[in-house]
Symmetry: C2
Subunit: 209 residues, 2 copies
Amino acid sequence: MRTAEQTADGESAPWGEVEPEAARRLLVAAVEAFAERGYHATTTRDIASRAGMSPAALYIHYKTKEELLHRISRIGHDKALEILTAAADGGGTAAERLAEAVRAFVRWHAERHTTARVVQYELDALAPEHRTEIVGLRRRSDAAVRRILGDGVRDGEFDVPDVPGTTLAVLSLCIDVARWFNAAGRRTPEEVGALYADLVLRMVSAQKE
Amino acid sequence: MRTAEQTADGESAPWGEVEPEAARRLLVAAVEAFAERGYHATTTRDIASRAGMSPAALYIHYKTKEELLHRISRIGHDKALEILTAAADGGGTAAERLAEAVRAFVRWHAERHTTARVVQYELDALAPEHRTEIVGLRRRSDAAVRRILGDGVRDGEFDVPDVPGTTLAVLSLCIDVARWFNAAGRRTPEEVGALYADLVLRMVSAQKE
DNA sequence: CCCCGAGCTGAGCAAGCGCTTAGAGCCTTG
DNA sequence: CAAGGCTCTAAGCGCTTGCTCAGCTCGGGG
């Protein structure tokens, strides 16, 4: 039986897997604080007070401030990898799968840009052993996109002279959405996802003649 | 007569305009430290010792640690704006000017990725009045690229349904180079610049039929 | 020869940091 | 109702932070 992990529409809630509730409140508070000020500029007192608790309460649920960051980074990277492998393994032509990968990945970076900012820009603040773990997940994300491009080239759908370089560029374009996306701005996450899927398809498509 | 501002080949040296020499040494040390660990995680003691001085020496040349960041950010943004306006105002077709803008802008982000990382990712650490000044420079950079795209659409060279959105995507793609570029990696700044110029041209080119 | 201002250092201050500890409150179990 | 365990708080420890200040050094002008 699932509880907090699932919402009515069946989509997984952002931090449903974090239990108990006090630990989740602290983690959500940490995501907001890290995204706003950065990991190093955020104090444990700030996190605790956002969660409505005393500074000491944090250490009942997490050993260190870095463990909080690691949990956030791990969950976020799992989600990112899930989105990209789902698109890579999905049905359809390489173009359809690439468009879906970019659309969904960008949508996640825009919709959850608070989380994504921490996930993408605080890697250096992780302890060495945690960083190598996360880097492994990132390599698998890279492989998923590279596979789609490779399939498209093989099937003659795409014209991509430099597959690794283009993979890097596509992922880079999507990731940077977390930096500039503003929830109060004019574009919705869906609109940005659609725009970016179109731009990426243009980057890789074989020219008609 | 120019001195430290110019090298033998006529290209401007990175921090030539910073005088006297001790102030420049401190600034270069700060760029390295900020890029490696981030502004908030860098101590004034670290900056001073990298420059071979005592912590107190920093405050003879700069009022605060934030003033150092502001000077770095200002010089970096001036350079970025100069690169983009030079390309926008240069001769040739819109496609040639866009390719040159991306090539030069990416090359700068790769070659000087230490500086670029501080310039692009430490905006939030600036004091409010310094931030608004820098945001103004960034808007002018945005306008330079938008102008090239607008010219290309007007002349029928480009097919760009969403000019502001595509401007954002092009700049975003270039800026993110500072995050992932590794000087020890396989690609040279020139190679990345050429690859990215090609990818961006594909994004905006009218399809042949 | 002495003085002087500029550049720099050693020592250190007040504030804030991550984290610990002793114990209070309260829910569960028998 | 008593015992035990879990969650949380108030207080604070040891340390580091950005920054200050009295004084040392040293090249150039009277």
